[in-house]
Amino acid sequence: MNTDAEEMNLQERVSLIESMIAEGRQTAESWGWTFVLWGIAYYVAIFWAAWSVRPWSWPVELFGGNHWAWPITMLSAVALTMVIGLRGGRGKPNTGAGRAISSIWSAMGVSMLLLFPALSIAGKIDHHSFIAIVASFLGTANGACGLILKWRAELLTALVWWISSVLVCFVTEEQMMTIFLIAIFLCQIVFGVYAMSCEASTRRKAAIHA
């Protein structure tokens, strides 16, 4: 086992092991698109609700005068996530981390879909509470996923949501909307695009090694 050829053969084996392990993990973990999709969904709901009543006004009212904007947008986003997720996940392997992460997001989604309509119908929620709870939920889910994946970028996202959830309790309606829109941009759109670029980069590296 001392010849150069044999050593090269062994090095090839090492590269093969590394690239295949990376490939297996990467395939099972592609979540970036969901962040972007939901970021866009929040923006659509906010601006549809506000601008369908008072076009291009600022600051936007969270629920505006259109009570259907939020339920329709959120249910559409749920349906889109399920359709794209199921189609993209077909044939892909299961991993413990993948199941833990999808469980966290699914459970959080169910909580939101039950809690907010109930609070809204009962008339026991105001705009500040709504955003504080949404931001707190998203902070919890991102924090848990960040800890599972040991991913600092997602932990940073959680931190932004947690800070936002606390801040909105102490500010005016206009400031609250600004904080919420910025948090959505940073934590959903920017983080989602970053996650997608990380996934693409891992895919490229795996392809080079394979």
Binding site: V14, T95, A210
Partner: protein, 100 residues
């Protein structure tokens, strides 16, 4: 000078090594996914998976999903140990040159 370790011939095969490395990072994987990732032909892939199955390194579950046959493979504890031992032996042979 310490004696150099032998490499497990079942694990050493390139395609079998690729399959074990793929399976170590996931809970279970379909035949079609393994074929996609390795680029192997159906016949070759099936033969190598059978060797791994006979060695007790992978377990297979055959089922029907939407009336189509589906083979799902998962790594056994013996397979995991064999791969770990193989990587350890590889490290020794390469004299700690690898960082993994």
């Amino acid at each position: 000078m310490p004696e150099l370790p032998e490499l497990n011939p079942v694990v050493h095969g390139k395609l079998r090594l690729a399959l074990l490395s793929l399976l170590v990072g996931v809970e279970e994987a379909e035949f079609t996914w393994l074929r996609l990732k390795t680029g192997a032909s159906d016949g070759n892939l099936g033969a190598q998976l059978l060797k791994l199955e006979e060695a007790g390194y992978v377990a297979v579950e055959k089922k029907f999903v939407e009336r189509k046959p589906q083979s799902v493979y998962r790594m056994t504890e013996t397979g995991r140990e064999a791969l770990t031992e193989y990587v350890r032996a590889l490290k020794l042979l390469l004299g700690g040159a690898m960082g993994a």
